[in-house]
Point group: C2
Chain length 480, copies 2
């Protein structure tokens, strides 16, 4: 945590944002005056009065926690954002860049020159620089690497060498390690000499003479045990450890499961190489769940709310293109029955209901199945059971809602046979939806991909096309 | 964290699950034999051999962390689940009940009698009992309350008095508070006398003589400062604090923002009443994001994967009913144009494309706007800007994809006017989608509800109905 006072809650954060916006808009008013050619005496006075606003703004920003400035920057349109960003003390640029979302970070970095970027990055730890690295220009990274001492350079290179979403890419190097053959008294003296402990230090990592990881000594234990005792006697040997190649998602769920605050990362030879902390894991969980939510509507990455139309459109195109293709295929299914529709136009009005109900029901199934895969709850032993249950639910729902729609159809069109077709088609399509809602994520999982991405579009595609086909096909056979 | 060794990662957890399933299925095989009337000598031997499996299973369960047993229980179908649950040491029942999902918890509690429930609950802290309280039978809660001493009873009643999703309902009472007028040496002695510190104690809470909150003393500072110093000199006064009535979501985002491990909860008079810890906040974030994902497909609560068909169907009905209603309205829009469709059946095949593309595009907008509201990034100053940007994107996308579909329509039907109508309808419906995708969450937010719930269904309803209306209306005017 930074030394500046964090703002208490978001409520008051929004108030601060309001104040910033007011100061900014007063400032911009004056900017407008300054650019006028014929400045009157009155305008000049106004300018001087309003200079005050900028100073006030500067003071406000200096008091805020970096995370809070990041929030304000995200909430401001591009030109005001740039004003605030230029006003921030350069020493805090690095911290703020780490806090803002990827999309906003890109736009802020684009506005900085190499010198500013270098100055910002130099304030950061090596694991933090590694987080920024993908967005930094090549020459800045080169200069940065050269400016580091050999240990930090090795850390940075190691942090950058791990693929995204592995433990290695999320670990830091701020661990305190102690030897197992010393006494607690010595540990206490050592800590006092350090003067300050890194954030999220809830335990010290114990290693042997050869730097092999042996166990952990929590600060809590250190505090309550007799200083005469030895580290080996007080430490816990059954600590949860991670490897740099472990998936970050697995590590995050272990942090949740076992309520960890920090945990050691060891290599294949059991050598201590870094540590994971709960704040990083919490950010990871939030980002994962955000990205899943965005991907459900085909947003490949989070979008800066104030980005340009062009950038936003690019982010959304692929999805619209995919959906246009699936909609076209479904449309061709309908096209095959144009003859039937000409004879009975009511079919055109009713067919979207069959398709839509299938889509809704299928996506309920697929959402639960996706969740089951994510939690590791589905395996070959219970897969058949889950599918059977989903088919049972579809049978029940299909009978109920199919009957309802059958009656409604009869009331609307006074055609009993049409009502019967409607009811039967609803039931059949809900059964199709149950199978599709199960098979779509199962197939994507089998292909080694994350079912959270793509299951919905695949399920909807099947229920749409099959819904049209079943309803129009049945109608053609029975009614015409 | 419990004393039992936590399993390292989920990979190996799934292996353990496999072993449990094997042991269980062998056991059930034997159960089948026992119920046979004419047991042969060979069957008897089998029975004895397989008794071993149960003992082995019991041993395995005893070694596992409660969170890991919870995972295994969730992954097992109902009858096997009951077997494992009965086998778990009764002292751990409470911990496991806290770890499993709400739906599974309900089914486990339903299988226990009052005596078992009482025994399980008595192993828990008061804040944990409060979490279980809504699921416990009234008589068990009564007996529990009577069995507690007055301080714990007051804690339990206070924890239960706060509405769900407030800080008060999530706080615990495991804080260690110290007076500000003593020296660090005294604090160190006090901690040693305590012998053990509660989980997630990264700081001590400092109070004055009248129990008013003054600041925090982190264990890190306690360790590195001279024991001769006084608490008042070393503590930090600018700690983030919460009130019991604060929204849990705000507190969770403060934990993320300021990287907190624990934080004091104080009442209106600045008296210390409890504390929040990061593990609880992390669970809260996970549950919130899960419930948002589930609610997007209308699942009111998470579903036990192995629940009965009847229970699951009830959970899904409301959504299907709502969607049936909106689909019916959209269907009536189409019905109004049945005359046009009779004359040109191609309209029926093309209309779902216009509606579907509008839905996809509108939900991209609404997802981003919902997110903007959740993060507090949208306010009256920038609302118009965001809407303008969305309209710009819709104009661009509508022109591009409208033209593509116009050409495709012409190629399919050799009807230039129909192609033109298609292109125009796509463009118009994407503009409608941009407005709907913005207004739907904005309206829900204005009503004081969470836009995460309901925005999608409202947006889709508008884009469907308007898509049909615009396309069929244009076609009727231009073509017929």
């Amino acid at each position: 945590m930074s030394e500046t006072e964090p703002t208490k809650v978001q409520e008051s954060l929004q108030e601060i944002l309001q104040q910033v916006i007011e100061l900014l808009s007063k400032h911009q008013l004056v900017e407008g005056l300054v650019h006028k050619q014929d400045m009157t005496r009155h305008d000049l006075v106004e300018t001087l009065v309003h200079k005050q606003h900028l100073i006030e703004l500067q003071k406000k920003l200096d008091q805020l926690h970096s995370a809070d400035i990041a929030y304000i920057i995200e909430a401001l349109p591009l030109e005001q954002r740039q004003l605030v960003w230029d006003m921030v003390n350069v020493e805090r640029d690095g911290d703020i860049l780490l806090e803002v979302s990827d999309a906003v970070r890109e736009s802020l970095i684009a506005s900085m020159d190499s010198g500013e970027l270098l100055a910002a990055a130099e304030q950061l730890d090596t694991d933090e620089i590694a987080d920024l690295a993908p967005d930094l220009p090549h020459d800045v990274m080169q200069e940065l690497l050269e400016s580091l001492d050999s240990q930090n350079r090795a850390h940075l290179q190691s942090a950058m060498s791990y693929p995204e979403d592995t433990v290695g890419s999320l670990m830091d190097f701020d661990m305190i390690s102690i030897r197992d053959d010393i006494g607690l008294e010595v540990v206490l003296r050592y800590l006092r000499r350090l003067g300050e402990l890194p954030g999220h230090t809830d335990k010290l990592f114990v290693v042997d003479r050869k730097d092999h990881f042996r166990g952990v000594l929590s600060l809590k234990r250190l505090l309550v045990h007799d200083p005469e005792a030895s580290v080996a006697a007080v430490m816990a040997e059954d600590a949860v450890t991670f490897h740099p190649d472990d998936e970050a998602g697995e590590a995050a769920s272990a942090f949740e499961r076992y309520d960890l605050v920090s945990a050691p990362v060891v290599d294949r030879n059991n050598k201590l190489v870094g540590r994971l902390t709960v704040d990083v894991m919490m950010d990871f969980i939030r980002e994962e769940s955000d990205s899943e939510k965005l991907s459900m509507v085909g947003l490949r990455e989070e979008e800066d709310l104030f980005t340009t139309v062009w950038k936003a459109a690019k982010n959304r195109w692929l999805w619209l293109a995919i959906n246009l293709c699936t909609a076209l295929v479904a449309s061709r299914v309908v096209g095959a029955f144009e003859g039937s529709i000409e004879k009975l136009a009511a079919l055109a009005a009713l067919m979207p209901i069959v398709a839509g109900m299938g889509g809704n029901s299928g996506n309920q199934t697929s959402t639960l199945v996706v969740r089951g895969f994510a939690l590791g709850l589905i395996n070959k032993d219970n897969a058949r059971r889950i599918l059977t249950k989903e088919l049972g639910i579809a049978l029940l729902n299909g009978t109920v809602w199919g009957s309802v729609m059958g009656v409604v159809t009869y009331l609307l069109y006074h055609n009993a046979a049409l009502g019967g077709v409607m009811a039967a088609a609803m039931l059949l399509n809900l059964l199709v939806a149950a199978v599709a809602g199960y098979l779509a994520p199962a197939m994507i999982d089998r292909l080694g991909r994350d079912p959270a991405y793509g299951s919905a579009v695949l399920t909807t595609f099947i229920t749409d096309s099959m819904g049209f086909f079943i309803f129009l096909g049945l109608a053609t056979v029975v009614l015409l």
